[in-house]
Each structure stands twice: as structure tokens, then as C-alpha cells.
């Protein structure tokens, strides 16, 4: 783990960090001004060179995404994804709560680079306080000429509106977000066409995460080489990590992507070690959709490439939930299964039925009414029911599959022991007969 000087969170805790004057005093909006003096292609170029990978979960390079926009387009929309609903992720909340202008400056830079005319900041409904903070900051930024017509005398026009969601995890998926923006149910769209070609209102659209955009002012100010110098190749730049669960210091921390899950838990810079002498039983290091690690797998590096070596879907939101050794794994399994069953939008049969089916089984298992074949099926459904990459409209079903499959595979013997130990249970036998 290298020495690290905070970039994204450097204003946290400063008095009046939400106010424009404070932000500008600390050098704020200088990146945007610098960007406005360059051509949009120059800005895209530096972001491409920095290899800024999306922080929303998929890790797709932002500059590359922007260059998919058709050259002859007339209208472009920028959608800023602040739907943040993946348990247990809260880094976008911290960014918006503590330093709203950093995000607004990022929006302005991304807007200019993509020549967007309108930016929509899509915030989940439960971000109530954060909505007021962002809207108040946006009003201030408009008054100071950072949004609207002829921004800072550059001739570039950008409107920015906050669009509030209404309670649906799947609206964080980029095409679900776009549908929701259009006033419809948040049903993800079949791709292609990708949003860059045909997104919001049928026009070329870029969707980027809050944290991705918060990086932009710093990349413009300090250059691509500075960014590439932080962290390992392929996982460069400042990154936020969330940690919650059985640690001493749950919270949102910043660092380079150059340390392990163990360090995230143990280091005084981050989690500060386990609470009350508890031991680690398991960690879901990237949000629940990415899958689980056992206590023997804590050497996994929190970067974009290492998670796959441990059977995980990816780095996800780099938000870890630390599960202690007193916790019944059945409780975790059931909670996770319930989440996906609750949030499946229902368009794809295997996701709608599969998630509900798995929830029913995990419920049974947790209540001590499980059967060995339930465990068997819980391993099998995610792997065989078509819930594999590319077979569903969106990534929610892949997330459900990885979450459940990794728990069942890695904690199989514990789950089976529970089920076996209940063999004599009268209720259980009654249930078997009834079935």
C-alpha cells in the first residue's frame, strides 16, 4: 500500500465545503475553465490517455465510451448516474454531500467533452438531503455562470437538471435510468443499440457514474500521467472504497487500487480492524452483486483485475461488507436473495422467476426447513438457468447469480450441515409430507 494524498475527498470536513466560494478558493472550477479553453477532442483525448475506468460498476473506460458518440450528431445528452442502490455502497452519497461542486465541475467537463446540451443528474429518491444539497449548489453554479448559456465566455451552453428517481434499484442500470428519465417504468433496454448511438429520447447519450465524473477536474488539472502514476496499471487513479459491517471504523475512504481486502479491513487508514475481537468469516468486497470471499481469500487486491481470480464478477462498486464469525451464513444468503427477488424488474423470465425461486428456497433454508436439494438447486439455478452474461437484458441477473452462486459454492458444507442437523425436525417432516 503506497503513501496516498487525498484527491476526491480532500474537501471533506472543511468548513462550508458545500459552498461555491470555498470550492473556488481551493482551486475549484479551474479544471473546467482549462477544459473550456481546449477542444472537446483534446479533453476526450486526455481522459482516454488517463484510462479513467467507470466507477459505477462495469469499469468501462470513460474516454472510450465518449468516442463512440456519432460524429455527425446534433443533440447529445449526458446522464449522471446517482442512483447508488447497490448494498452496501455509499461513496456517491459522500461525494454529493460533502463536495457538490466537485461533481458539478466534473459534469461541466464531461458535458463539454461530449458536447452535451443537457445534463440530467439522476438521483435516487431516497437521496433527500443530498438532493437539496446538490440543487442549492447547482443554483449557485448557475448564478456564477458555470451552467447555462455561454459558460465562462466560451460559447458553450449546458443546462443541468436534477431528475429524482422513485425507488427502484434497476434504474441504476444505464438503460433503465434512461427509460425512467423518459417518464416510463425503469425497464432496461435490449442492447444494441447502445446509449451512445440511441439513448435518452432516441438521441446519443452518455451515462456516467458520479465518482467517475468527480475525477475529471483533477485529470484536466494534473494531466493523464499524474493519474496513471497512481495505483497499478489498468487500475489507475484515485478511488473511493466503502467498508461496513463488523469493523471498527466503517466509512468511505480514498486510496489507490493497490491494497488487499485484508488491508482494507485491518489498516488504520481504512476499517481499523475487526470490532470487539470478532473474526472475519466472509467479505463481499465489491457490493453484493459481485460475490463473496471467504476468510482465506482476503489477499484479493481491490483493483479491476484481481476479483475475477477469486471467482467474483468484478470490482463492482469497491464497497465491502465484512461479515463476522458469529453470523449465520443462511441469514446472509437469504438477505441477498431477497434483495434481487425484490428488485428484479420482471422482463426476463429467468431473472424474474429465478430470483423469486431462489428467495423462497433461501427462506426455507434459513427457517430450518431446508432440504439438501435446495442447496443443490441454489448452486445450479444461477449456473444453468441462463443467468449467464449476455442472456438477460441487463446485468441484474448476473449480479444475482454471482452473489448466490459464490455463497453457495464457498459455504456449501456449512449450509449442508445446517440442513442435515435439522433432519429430525418434526415440522420439517410434516413439510416434506405436505410436499
Amino acid at each position: 500500500m503506497s503513501e496516498y494524498e487525498k484527491v476526491l475527498l480532500k474537501n471533506v470536513g472543511k468548513p462550508n465545503s458545500r459552498q461555491l466560494a470555498t470550492y473556488v478558493e481551493g482551486g475549484g472550477y479551474s479544471g473546467a475553465k482549462r477544459a473550456l479553453e481546449q477542444t472537446p477532442d483534446d479533453v476526450i483525448d486526455v481522459v482516454k490517455r488517463a484510462n479513467l475506468r467507470g466507477r459505477g460498476g462495469a469499469g468501462f473506460p470513460a474516454g472510450v465510451k465518449w468516442s463512440f458518440l456519432p460524429k455527425d450528431r446534433e443533440v447529445t445528452y449526458l446522464c449522471v448516474n446517482a442512483d447508488e442502490s447497490e448494498p452496501p455502497t455509499f461513496s456517491n452519497r459522500v461525494l454529493m454531500e460533502e463536495d457538490p461542486h466537485q461533481l458539478l465541475e466534473g459534469i461541466l467537463i464531461a458535458g463539454y467533452a461530449t458536447q452535451a446540451t443537457v445534463a440530467y443528474l439522476y438521483m435516487r429518491a431516497e437521496f433527500t438531503e443530498q438532493y437539496h444539497i446538490m440543487q442549492v449548489a447547482l443554483d449557485e453554479a448557475y448564478n456564477a455562470g458555470y451552467f447555462g448559456k455561454n459558460i465562462q465566455g466560451s460559447g458553450y451552453n449546458l443546462e443541468c437538471y436534477i431528475h429524482r428517481g422513485a425507488g427502484a434499484y434497476v434504474c441504476g442500470e444505464e438503460t433503465g435510468l434512461i427509460e425512467s428519465l423518459e417518464g416510463k417504468r425503469g425497464w432496461p433496454r435490449i442492447k444494441p443499440p447502445f446509449p451512445a448511438i440511441q439513448g435518452a429520447f432516441g438521441k446519443p447519450t452518455v451515462v456516467n457514474n458520479v465518482e467517475t465524473l468527480a475525477n475529471l477536474p483533477h485529470i484536466i488539472n494534473r494531466g493523464a500521467d499524474w493519474f496513471l502514476g497512481i495505483g497499478p496499471e489498468g487500475s489507475s487513479g484515485p478511488k473511493l472504497f466503502c467498508i461496513s459491517g463488523a469493523v471498527k471504523k466503517p466509512g468511505c475512504y480514498e486510496g489507490a487500487m493497490d491494497f488487499s481486502v485484508r488491508e482494507l479491513i485491518e489498516s488504520d487508514r481504512f476499517g481499523g480492524g475487526m470490532r470487539n475481537g470478532l473474526k472475519v468469516k466472509a467479505v463481499m468486497p465489491g457490493g453484493i452483486s459481485m460475490g463473496i470471499l471467504t476468510a482465506d481469500e482476503l489477499d484479493m487486491k481491490m483493483d479491476f483485475s484481481d476479483p475475477a481470480k477469486y471467482g467474483l464478477l468484478g470490482l463492482g462498486t469497491a464497497s465491502a461488507i465484512v461479515i463476522d464469525d458469529r453470523t449465520d451464513i443462511r441469514k446472509v444468503l437469504r438477505n441477498v436473495a431477497r434483495f434481487f427477488a425484490h428488485e428484479s424488474c420482471g422482463q426476463c423470465t429467468q431473472c424474474r422467476e429465478g430470483t423469486s425461486w431462489m428467495y423462497k428456497m433461501t427462506n426455507r433454508v434459513e427457517r430450518g426447513l431446508g432440504r439438501l436439494q435446495d442447496i443443490e438447486l441454489l448452486g445450479e439455478i444461477p449456473a444453468k438457468m441462463g443467468m449467464m452474461p449476455g442472456l438477460s437484458i441487463c446485468g441484474l441477473s448476473d449480479g444475482a447469480a454471482f452473489a448466490i452462486r459464490t455463497i453457495v459454492e464457498k459455504f456449501r458444507s456449512e449450509l449442508e450441515d445446517y440442513v442435515r442437523s435439522e433432519n429430525d425436525d418434526a415440522v420439517r417432516i410434516a413439510l416434506e409430507i405436505a410436499n
Binding site: E84, S85, E86, P87, P88, T89, F90, V118, R124, A125, E126, F127, T128, E129, H132, I133, Q135, V136, E159, Y161, I162, H163, R164, G165, A166, G167, A168, Y169, V170, L181, E182, G183, K184, R185, G186, F201, C242, I243, S244, G245, A246, P250, G251, C252, M284, I288, I321, I323, T327, K331, V332, N335, F339, A341, H342, E343, S344, C345, G346, R352
Partner: protein
């Protein structure tokens, strides 16, 4: 289940309020933010719910007319989102997080205590119309679980022993930061 909303199609049982002229004006004020009128629907529904406490049938019909879409388009959208309700709820809606971090920190005890203090179950409303209770998935404050949201206000690190005190506090749903009234209903009285 997002595809199986709790408050779904029950024929209207109560007279539901109409959109006032100031509310309509407020909704029209959003027209130039989007290239289509339909896109104004979700902001409009927020304003309506803020004004009326829920999105009733009459309001759905009227907002359809205002946005030049059909009432079924409106209902299609309303029924998808867990934060729009088609029937009155309590003045204060208590949302208890039940996702993984809060769960492992004792969210079920907080929920049980809410049920006990309010005397109602999940998705129910107290007879005096003061409180409704619902469970929620992750509220993005997992470092401070268990979390309880009351209308706009988030309560963090909730100890079951304090639930009664929180619920009895009149100001338990009030934010104490500068606010924007852009999304508020036109007749909203509370700050």
C-alpha cells in the same frame, strides 16, 4: 418485487383530489427541461405526492391530460416505483432499511420496535393517519446502520432502545439544511 407493486390496482375507494392550478403551473414549469412532455411525469408525480400525500386516480387522469399521454401510461409508471403510492399513507412514512449491512447490525430489532411502538405491520398505516411503516432496500448509508428514514430525514445508527424517542419527536422528519422547493408540491406547507 418491482414487478409486483404492493399498492397495485385496487379500484378507487376514496374521492381523490384534483390538481390545483398552482400545482399544474408548477408542473408546466418543468416542460422546458425535457424534450418530451412524458418525461415530466416523474417530477410531476413527486410534486403531486408531495401536495396530496399520494397519487390518486383523479390526479393520474389529470396529469395525463396535462402531459398529453393516456391515464394508463401514467398508471404504468406509477405502479412500477415503490416510492409512489396510489392510496393515502400516514403523514409520516417510516422506511426501515433491511439490506445486508443494516440487517447484520440488527435492522430486524429496529423494525420490530417500530411495529411495536406504532402498533402496525409492514406497509400499514396507523388508524390516526399519522404514521405508515415500510421496509426498504439499502438507503446508501450502510456505514451508519441500522438506518431509518422518516419522510426526508435519515436517522442513522438507530438503537432499538431509542426508536420510541425518535418516533415521538415532532421534528423527526425535518431537514435542517438549506432546501430547494423545486420538487415540492405547490401547496406544501411544512418546511
Amino acid at each position: 418485487m418491482a414487478w409486483k407493486a404492493i399498492d397495485r390496482v385496487n379500484a378507487p375507494t376514496e374521492e381523490s383530489p384534483s390538481l390545483s392550478e398552482p400545482l399544474k403551473e408548477k408542473i408546466r414549469g418543468f416542460f422546458d427541461r425535457y424534450p418530451t412532455k412524458r418525461a415530466v411525469l416523474i417530477p410531476a408525480l413527486h410534486m403531486i405526492q408531495d401536495d396530496h400525500g399520494y397519487v390518486g386516480w383523479k390526479a393520474m387522469e389529470e396529469v395525463a391530460e396535462l402531459l398529453e399521454i393516456t391515464p394508463s401510461d401514467v398508471f404504468d409508471t406509477v405502479s412500477f416505483y415503490s416510492h409512489f403510492w396510489t392510496h393515502p399513507k400516514g403523514e409520516k412514512v417510516v422506511m426501515a432499511c433491511r439490506s445486508i449491512s443494516c440487517d447484520l447490525l440488527g435492522a430486524d430489532r429496529v423494525l420490530d420496535e417500530c411495529k411495536k411502538v406504532l402498533g402496525i405491520g409492514d406497509h400499514e398505516t396507523t388508524p390516526d393517519g399519522k404514521y405508515s411503516l415500510m421496509t426498504e432496500e439499502c438507503l446508501a448509508a450502510c456505514d451508519h446502520g441500522p438506518c431509518l428514514m422518516i419522510n426526508e430525514k435519515m436517522h442513522k445508527c438507530v438503537d432499538p432502545a431509542n426508536v420510541r424517542k425518535i418516533l415521538e419527536d415532532d421534528a423527526n422528519d425535518k431537514l435542517d439544511i438549506p432546501r430547494s422547493n423545486l420538487y415540492d408540491g405547490a401547496n406544501r406547507t411544512s418546511a
